[in-house]
């Protein structure tokens, strides 16, 4: 897997920690990223700021 740049906390400007991946299914009206053919859903990354604790997510690519 190619290393992606860390998410930057919009509050603190520091690199966030990527601590989780979760499989999501397009069951609601939230934006969904492309469907992974193996998992049959979209994979989302979850990140937390080590300074303020704020959470962020982005699609796994």
């Amino acid at each position: 897997m190619v290393d992606k740049p860390s998410l930057i906390c919009p509050q603190c400007g520091v690199a966030m920690n990527h601590h989780s991946n979760k499989l999501l299914y397009p069951t609601d009206m939230s934006p969904v990223s492309p469907i992974d053919p193996i998992f049959e859903g979209s994979m989302e990354e979850f990140h937390t700021c080590p300074k303020c604790g704020g959470a962020a997510s982005r699609p796994e690519t």
Partner: protein
């Protein structure tokens, strides 16, 4: 203990019912009070009756910004959940479904409330798989407010002091898990 986090843990208490005359409000206030006595813990009561979430079910698109901000800031949650017809309140599920990233790898403890003798145990068991899918980490301690009409006066005074040590054990576990998971979220990468 000298293990004080660099910023206070934030552990809101969610009153998970909108029903008129709800005795769960007394249970939620009691737990919020006990949490408020702890060092380095910030808390607040979130009453789902005060959230304005539309009912045309659009998942996370209906996010209440204040609720989402509180979930984002939270290190752990306490859910106060009455048992209605052996289940948890549907509106609590509606509220919980409005967020996701805000919950991932955060601790949650549940206080069940019922008029009967089981203290909301069936509602708690039904809720566990939902919380798991939301990315929350459940603790193995619950508080079971059984016979709630006899547990609190109509004004909310606790009439059964045995709940205090139960809440103490419950909060000890929840706070330990909150500290541990905060460390993991902020410091330990997944790969």
């Amino acid at each position: 203990m000298t293990d004080v986090p660099q910023r206070p843990l934030f552990i809101p208490v969610i009153l998970g019912t909108t029903r008129q005359g709800r005795m769960s409000a007394h249970a939620a206030e009691l737990i919020r009070n006990e949490l408020g006595k702890r060092l380095a813990i910030d808390t607040e009561l979130i009453d789902i009756a005060k959230l304005s979430l539309p009912t045309q079910d659009a998942g996370q698109a209906i996010k209440d910004p204040r609720f989402a901000a509180a979930m984002n800031k939270a290190d752990a949650l306490v859910l106060v959940v009455p048992e209605y017809n052996h289940g948890y309140p549907g509106l609590l599920k509606h509220v919980l479904d409005s967020c996701l990233k805000e919950y991932i790898h955060k601790a949650v403890g549940i206080a069940g409330v019922s008029a009967g003798s089981f203290g909301g145990a069936r509602a708690i068991e039904n809720l566990l798989p939902v919380l798991r899918e939301l990315g929350l980490i459940t603790i193995f301690w619950d508080v079971n407010f059984s016979n709630v009409q006899k547990t609190f006066s109509p004004q909310g005074k606790l009439l059964n002091e045995t709940f205090i040590p139960q809440i103490e054990k419950f909060l000890n576990e929840l706070i330990w898990m909150a500290k541990t998971l905060r460390h993991g979220r902020e410091r330990i990468p997944i790969d």
